[in-house]
Structures are given as structure tokens and as C-alpha cells.
């Protein structure tokens, strides 16, 4: 969720039951503003909270002008001091996927694994966040547009999805570089608008049915929840510009999803 509209976003995303306490909210508002100034980000997103056994990690992301460029990730334990997480290498990603279990809440905690080296919890947090972000960060169609010069911009004239569009999975895209676009047939591509439809939509996510769409607040808010990564909530108020996503959870993938559907 955008740090500029943090309060409203938290209010709208509260349908999942997890939110932030008032003191955290207050400290987030101030500290994210400072982060934006210090790191010179164009936009700062509050990504979410990873629940650990001892303490929770609060994660924020900083975006530059080009919305699809790789985002910088920051973490904090108390919502006031933010540290940049180091970028992950391939080996670290592989290692952390092996080490299972909940997060402790201590960034210096070392996980032990018989075959591999010890994995630092700080890195593990980061990989987890990257994985989750790639998998389930979403954006409504029309919120970003791509210029022919390359960079992707926020669409200032985005007025929100209509009610009928908001209930369809195809109106939402993954907020990452497209992976499956090139696999589409020519017929499908002919219907796409290259300035708006340049990301993967949620329709073709595997396993099918891993997204739950609901209307809340008496039909005035559409909420998407990921069933594969429980804890990710995306909200959008149709016909308005408000949208955002937040992750509050333990950082574990729901491997039982096919049985649960």
C-alpha cells in the first residue's frame, strides 16, 4: 500500500482481521516519509508484516520512477528504523527455500541445516519477501501504463475499475515483469492494448482457484486474497483510485492448497 495513503489503505485492508496497532501506524507514517527522503524514492510502499515467533518484521519497498524496475526492500523491527535488505543471489534463494519453518524475529538468527551452510535469518526474510512479491503482488488493470520509450508510469487518469470488471480475475495483473505474455496466441494478443496490458493477468495462475475474490463492506470494496500465500490481501474500491495490497502472515506457502479447494 502506498505510504501516502496509509491510513485509508489500512482501513480498507482490515477485512482480513490483521492490521496495525495505532502506535505502529503513527511510527510508520513518519518513518516512511523519512525513508522516501533519504533514499530518494519516487514512491514508498508498505509491503506488510511477517509474523515471527519472537518479533515481527515490517517490510517496505521503495520504487523509482519506472514502476517495473526492481524494487528495493527495507525491513524494520520497530517501524522506526529501516535497513536495506541486501539483494539476493541465486544460491541464497535456493538455500532459503530449503530451510523451512517460521521466522524467529531476530535478524541475526542462524538457521542450521544439515546439508547446507547456515542461513542468516535476515537473508531468509528477504528471499521470502521476494518470492511472495513475485508471486502475489497485484495491480488493477489500468493503474500503470507503459510508454513507448520503455518506462512504466503510474496512470494519473486511472479512475478505478467498474463493478463488473472488478469481479473478474482478468482485470488484475501481477506487479512484476511479465512471464507468460509471450505464450499467448496471436488472437489473444490482438485484443490487448499494449500500453495497458503488458503484465500477466491473474486468470491463468496455477493452481486455478488460488485467488478468492469477495465484495466487502456491503459491496463497496473488492478484496482479493491469495490462498496460496495466506495473508496477502489486495483491496480496491471500485470506481475510485484506491487500491493496494498488504501481506500479514508467517511467510509460509500453503502447500495443501489443492486439497483444500
Amino acid at each position: 500500500m502506498d505510504a501516502d495513503s496509509l491510513l485509508l489503505s489500512l482501513e480498507l485492508a482490515s477485512g482480513s482481521g490483521q492490521g496495525l496497532s495505532p502506535d505502529r501506524r503513527a511510527s510508520l507514517l513518519t518513518s516512511l516519509m523519512l525513508v522516501k527522503r533519504d533514499y530518494r524514492y519516487d514512491r514508498v510502499l508498505f509491503w506488510g508484516r511477517i509474523l515471527g515467533l519472537v518479533a515481527d518484521y515490517y517490510i517496505a519497498q521503495g520504487l523509482s520512477e519506472d514502476q517495473l524496475a526492481p524494487r528495493k526492500t527495507l525491513y524494520s523491527l520497530n517501524c522506526t528504523e529501516w535497513s536495506l535488505l541486501p539483494p539476493a543471489t541465486e544460491e541464497m534463494v535456493a538455500q532459503s527455500s530449503v530451510v523451512k519453518g517460521r521466522f524467529m524475529g531476530d535478524p541475526s538468527y542462524e538457521y542450521e541445516h544439515t546439508e547446507l551452510q547456515k542461513v542468516n535469518e535476515g537473508e531468509k526474510v528477504f528471499e521470502e519477501e521476494i518470492v511472495i512479491d513475485k508471486a502475489v503482488a497485484i495491480i488493477p488493470r489500468g493503474a500503470l501504463f507503459k510508454t513507448p520509450f520503455g518506462p512504466t508510469h503510474v496512470n494519473r487518469t486511472f479512475e478505478g475499475l467498474s463493478l463488473s470488471e472488478a469481479k473478474k480475475l482478468s482485470s488484475y495483473f501481477h506487479f512484476r515483469e511479465p512471464v507468460e505474455l509471450k505464450n499467448k496466441t496471436l488472437l489473444e494478443k490482438a485484443d490487448l492494448d499494449p500500453s495497458l496490458d503488458f503484465m500477466d493477468s491473474l486468470e491463468h495462475d496455477i493452481p486455478k482457484g488460488s485467488w478468492s475474490i469477495q465484495m466487502e463492506r456491503g459491496n463497496a470494496l473488492v478484496v482479493l486474497r491469495s490462498l496460496l500465500w495466506p495473508g496477502l490481501t489486495f483491496y480496491h474500491a471500485p470506481r475510485t483510485k484506491n487500491y493496494g495490497y498488504v501481506y500479514v502472515g508467517t511467510g509460509e506457502k500453503n502447500m495443501d492448497l489443492p486439497f483444500m479447494l
Partner: protein, 676 residues
């Protein structure tokens, strides 16, 4: 020709000073117009330096440029005569700002210039009388757009320094046909020059309507520019594309219908009305203040806002307006049902809809009706089974080769607990959203609990959905929901040590055979445990609901006690029963066991404690979170009564649930062989 003398003044008059120049140029134009009739052939001299850009028109230094200006006028006359359709021509835009973009060829450049110059000329002319002088006899419908243009011009020049509003080419608007004339068109139709031809072609191309609709590019550009000039957005170039899109959309979706509601918003409005009904006070608002005083007594409805506040401190819970709506919905529930106590249990998320769960206790003697219905259904089931056995015996007699009769008997059904005891201590009502009616959930049976432990399914949000799983769940989603609620309540309802105590009438501890006490009451002497201590140690928290045994009940029942029906079946089966007779009595931890005794989940502590705010420990609240049931929270602060709220998600406990293998019962012949 009398055109020469006025011309040298032009270079001194730049476009910004246009207005003043225009006045003087009106004079010129008039002269030009008069000269036009006299010089029909001069238009054939196309100035070679018309190729320069439009804004540089003042740089043109030849006489023929005037003719250049005149010529487009003639072209227009031609086209008008030819019956050009929508002919908005150049009603909008200042020529200095208008960049005719699509033209790339040189001839097109010329055309661009010509059209630009045409517009310039138009601006400069600005008096209807001008056209009248030219040819009062020429009148045709396509004159209207010119009249439109004239209106525009008079508006502009009469208002002085104001720009616009510019009149859009809206087909809904009607314009008065002005008395315009066109330059006299001589009887001879001269050969159109290549440049003129190019201009004609370009204009005709622009005016061509699109395949899908009636809009031509010309019109669209006109509309777009009008819009930009009216709205004056910052940095129009960057929003050009979106404005383009919006303009097109608006053309085809005019907001004309103000009487009918938007069909898309119907469900939203309906929900809003239902929720509005929540807010109206029941019993009519006309009753006086005396009623108010009477009502402010004990109501079963809890103070949800207060608990919501504390949960918010812990970072859990729904937003405050949602909590208020839930409060109103519960008030509605209390009015509809005979409720003694009631509590907001929590929210369970489903795929299509979510459930709000309220835990209630009925007043004495109120719930007998539902019980009888359920019993009838189970008896019906037993009758069916007896019928099946009879058929089997008949077949046996006929066939020589006897199919071995199965000796498998289904395990005895464990009777469910009485209401108001054990797992069925409370009744649960659910609704999907505040404002919708509440539905009562049936009591839970031990079989359902046992099966619910083995499966893990999402809730869809509709209570009558069948639960398709292996091992098959006996019931539909309502039963599964009830079973999960029972499990969650049993596992996660906790309170600080000492808040509840056992009632003093004891003596039945040994009579129950170790089943433990099942009632507690609030301790009036409870002084509260300091928050820091609550956070430090799990021994300061105790469960205040009964643990559910593996059997599926809170109090153990021996399943092998023979009922009357079973004794009729004969001796063989009695012998078979003797084998697995030794069923151990199941014992669970007694009530009010501290949380420190809870088993670990795969090397994880089952509970996590947190202070709600580390910056101000004196005012913060101790929060306990379950790691087994994600979403179950409890808070305690000083003297305050604790409350557990499962803001529960649909996930089952963290313990891994492998898909169940088919149950192996030792009594089946197959199993017996394999066990040897």
C-alpha cells in the same frame, strides 16, 4: 492590386499581438475579398514559399501569400459546395498552438500550412458581414458550421481578453444558420492544382468516419483540443493519450440519463439499504425518554467497541466502523432470539464470502425444538440400514456359491454431547455480513470433530456446500464450520491465571472418573496480573474451555456399551465384539490448565506473547497469539476481562496433514491377514 500596401505591416505583427493585428487585418481581408472576385485566376499561383511553417507566416514576403490565404477560402467553398458532411472546419484552436501532426510529406506540409493559414485567416476575419460581401446568394446547409465558427468568433472578440469557452462540435447543439455567403464560384470549374487536390484529399480523409462509429478523426481532434483548452491540464503532452481515450469514451457515453439508477450499482445500493435498516432503532422512534431509561439495563449484547479497541491495540481486528456494524447486527440477533449471553466470536474468511460468528447461550428451555428434529433424522438412518441387511439374506439363500458375508460392522456411533455441555456448550450463529440474517449452526457431533481433524478445506461462504474430502466428512459446510469452531474454541480460549476459578460445590471430581470439572465461574477476588508477567510466562494463562478428547467429545463415553438393538443380533456378533473390547478411557488435560503445558507444534512454541506497545509498557496490553490456529488472539490488561477473538482465517492448524490413508481396522479380514 490593392493588396500590396497593407502587407508590409504584417511582419511586425506577431501572433501574440494578433488581436490588434486582426483588427487591421480585417480591413485587409475585406479588401482581399473584394479583390478575390476580381482575380479568380490569381489563386493559381501557389507561392513556393508556402512551404514554411505556419507560425512563420509573418515571414512570408510576397504578394502571392495573400492569395494563398484566399485560396483556402475558395477550397472551402468548393468543398462546401460538394456537400461536405460534418464540416466543423476550423472552429477551434489557435493556429499557433495547433500542430497538424499527421502530415509527413511535403505536400502535406503545404496542406498543413494552408489549413493553418486558413484558420489564421478565419480568426482575422471575424465578421459575418465579410462573408456577406462575398456572395450573399450562396446558401447551403453546410453553412452551419461556418456560422458556428462565426458565433465563436464574435464571442471571442466581444469578450475581449477571455479565452473561450470554445464551442464543441456537439451534434446535439443546434446552430442558427447564419447568413453566410461563399465566395462567388465562377461557372468555370478550373482544374484543381496538385496542391489543392492534396488539401482536398487530406481533408476528405480526415473527415472520413471511422468504421465502428460515426466519429471522424477531424471531429475527434476538434473535441480533444476543445477539451484541453477548456480544462487546461498541467503538462498536457504527457496526458495526451489518456485524454484522447477519455474524449472518445465521452462521445459515446453521454451522461444523459439522470432518472434511472446505474444498473451496476444495484447490489451495492441494496446492501446499503439493508445496513441502513440496522441503524434504525427497533420498536419505533416515537417512544419517549422513559423507554430509554428502561432499556439501559442489562443487555446481553457485549461491548464490542471496547473489545475492538483493545484488539486494535494488539494490531488485530476489523476496522472500527465494521465493528460497529457488527455490534448493531448482534443487537438485532439479540432481539430476534431468546438469548441469555452473547459474544462476538470472530470472523472466518471464506473463498466467496466470509462468516461472522456469534457465540450465544440461550435462556433456559428455549432450544428444545431443534433437538427433536435432529433426532428424527438419525432414527430414519437406522431404519435404512436394517432394510439393507434383509436384502442381503435373501440373496444368500438363492446362490449356491455363497458370497462371504462381510463381518465388518461400522464402529459404534458415539453419541453427541448434550447441549449446554462440553463441545456444545454454546450455540453459534453465523451471518455473512452485518445486515444479513443470522443462521443458526447445528450442534456438533463427535464424528464430525474427529473427521474435521483429518481434513483441511477452505470455506466457500455458503452453508449448504457439500464438503468433498477424504476421509468423507459427515455433513456439509455448516457442520464443518461448526466442528472447526468447536476445535478452535477448545484450543484457544484462554484467560489469565486466577480470572476464573472452580465453583466451590466440588466433590464430584472423583465421581466423574477423572473427566474433570466442567464448570467455572469468575473469580471476584481477581486482582489482575501485571502485564509484564503475563507476557513473560505462559504459565500465567490458562485454558478456560474443555479440551476435546480424541474421541470427539469433552467427556468420555464408552462406545461399547450395548444398546438394546445390538443385543438382538445374535451370538456370533457378540463374540466378535469381545476382541476390541479394551477401549481405554481417554483423558485430557483438565480445565484451567496453564498454557505452558500445551504441546509443541513441530518444535515451535504453540503460543507467542507480545506487549502491544513497547514504547509505553505502562498502558499496553498483553497479547497472546496462537501459532497453531493462526488468527486466534487473546488480550489481557490489568483488571480487565480478557477476551479471545478468533479473527480466524480459513487455514487449519499448522500441523501437517498428510492425506489420510484408508483406515485399517483390525477386524476386517483383509487387515487380519496382513497383520500376520
Amino acid at each position: 492590386m490593392g493588396d500590396l500596401p497593407p502587407y508590409p505591416e504584417r511582419p511586425a505583427q506577431q501572433p501574440p499581438g494578433r488581436r490588434t493585428s486582426q483588427a487591421s487585418q480585417r480591413r485587409h481581408s475585406r479588401d482581399q475579398a473584394q479583390a478575390l472576385a476580381a482575380d479568380p485566376e490569381e489563386r493559381q499561383q501557389i507561392p513556393p514559399d508556402a512551404q514554411r511553417n505556419a507560425p512563420g507566416w509573418s515571414q512570408r514576403g510576397s504578394l502571392s501569400q495573400q492569395e494563398n490565404l484566399l485560396m483556402p477560402q475558395v477550397f472551402q467553398a468548393e468543398e462546401a459546395r460538394l456537400g461536405g458532411m460534418e464540416y466543423p472546419s476550423v472552429n477551434t484552436g489557435f493556429p499557433s498552438e495547433f500542430q497538424p501532426q499527421p502530415y509527413s510529406d511535403e505536400s502535406r506540409m503545404q496542406v498543413a500550412e494552408l489549413t493553418t493559414s486558413l484558420m489564421l485567416q478565419r480568426l482575422q476575419q471575424g465578421q459575418s458581414s465579410l462573408f456577406q460581401q462575398l456572395d450573399p446568394t450562396f446558401q447551403e446547409p453546410p453553412v452551419n458550421p461556418l456560422g458556428q465558427f462565426n458565433l465563436y468568433q464574435t464571442d471571442q472578440f466581444s469578450e475581449g481578453a477571455q479565452h473561450g469557452p470554445y464551442i464543441r462540435d456537439d451534434p446535439a447543439l443546434q446552430f442558427l444558420p447564419s447568413e453566410l455567403g461563399f465566395p462567388h464560384y465562377s461557372a468555370q470549374v478550373p482544374e484543381p492544382e496538385p496542391l489543392e487536390l492534396a488539401v482536398q484529399n487530406a481533408k476528405a480523409y480526415l473527415l472520413q468516419t471511422s468504421i465502428n462509429c460515426d466519429l471522424s478523426l477531424y471531429e475527434h481532434l476538434v473535441n480533444l483540443l476543445t477539451k484541453i483548452l477548456n480544462q487546461r491540464p498541467e503538462d498536457p503532452l504527457s496526458v495526451l493519450e489518456s485524454l484522447n481515450r477519455t474524449t472518445q469514451w465521452e462521445w459515446f457515453h453521454p451522461k444523459l440519463d439522470t432518472l434511472r439508477d446505474d444498473p451496476e450499482m444495484q447490489p451495492t445500493y441494496k446492501m446499503a439499504e439493508k445496513q441502513k435498516a440496522l441503524f434504525t432503532r427497533s420498536g419505533g422512534g416515537t417512544e419517549g425518554e422513559q423507554e430509554m431509561e428502561e432499556e439501559v439495563g442489562e443487555t446481553p449484547v457485549p461491548n464490542i467497541m471496547e473489545t475492538a479497541f483493545y484488539f486494535e491495540q494488539a494490531g488485530v481486528g476489523l476496522s472500527s466502523d465494521e465493528s460497529f456494524r457488527i455490534f448493531l447486527a448482534m443487537k438485532q440477533l439479540v432481539e430476534q432470539q431468546p438469548i441469555h449471553t452473547c459474544r462476538f466470536w470472530g470472523k472466518i474468511l471464506g473463498i466467496k464470502r466470509s462468516y461472522l460468528v456469534a457465540e450465544v447461550e440461550f435462556r433456559e428451555g428455549e432450544e428444545e425444538a431443534e433437538e427433536e428434529e435432529v433426532e428424527e433424522m438419525t432414527e430414519g438412518g437406522e431404519v435404512m440400514e436394517a432394510h439393507g441387511e434383509e436384502e442381503g439374506e435373501e440373496d444368500e439363500e438363492k446362490a449356491v456359491d455363497i458370497v462371504p458375508k462381510s463381518v465388518w460392522k461400522p464402529p459404534p456411533v458415539i453419541p453427541k454431547e448434550e447441549s449446554r455441555s462440553g463441545a456444545n456448550k454454546y450455540l453459534y450463529f453465523v451471518c455473512n455480513e452485518p445486515g444479513l440474517p443470522w443462521t443458526r449452526l447445528p450442534h456438533v457431533t463427535p464424528a464430525q470433530i474427529v473427521n474435521a481433524r483429518k481434513i483441511k478445506k477452505f470455506f466457500t461462504g455458503y452453508l449448504d456446500t457439500p464438503v468433498v474430502s477424504y476421509p468423507p466428512f459427515p455433513g456439509n459446510e455448516a457442520n464443518y464450520l461448526r466442528a472447526q469452531i468447536a476445535r478452535i474454541s477448545a484450543a484457544t480460549q484462554v484467560s489469565p491465571l486466577g480470572f476464573y476459578q472452580f465453583s466451590e460445590e466440588e466433590g464430584d471430581e472423583e465421581e466423574e472418573g477423572g473427566a474433570g470439572r466442567d464448570s467455572y465461574e469468575e473469580n471476584p477476588d481477581f486482582e489482575g496480573i501485571p502485564v509484564l508477567e503475563l507476557v513473560d510466562s505462559m504459565a500465567n494463562w490458562v485454558h478456560h474451555t474443555q479440551h476435546i478428547l480424541p474421541q470427539g467429545r469433552c467427556t468420555w463415553v464408552n462406545p461399547l456399551q450395548k444398546t438394546e438393538e445390538e443385543e438382538d443380533l445374535g451370538e456370533e456378533e457378540e463374540k466378535a465384539d469381545e476382541g476390541p473390547e479394551e477401549v481405554e478411557q481417554e483423558v485430557g488435560p483438565p480445565l484451567l490448565t496453564p498454557l505452558s503445558e500445551d504441546a509443541e507444534i513441530m518444535h515451535l512454541a504453540p503460543w507467542t506473547t507480545r506487549l502491544s506497545c513497547s514504547l509505553c509498557p505502562q498502558y499496553s496490553v498483553a497479547v497472546v497469539r496462537s501459532n497453531l490456529w493462526p488468527g486466534a488472539y487473546a488480550y489481557a490488561s490489568g483488571n480487565l476481562r480478557t477476551s479471545t477473538s478468533a479473527g480466524v482465517t480459513s487455514t487449519a492448524p499448522r500441523a501437517s496433514t498428510r492425506p489420510c490413508q484408508p483406515p485399517f481396522n483390525k477386524s476386517t479380514p483383509v487387515a487380519q491377514r496382513s497383520w500376520r
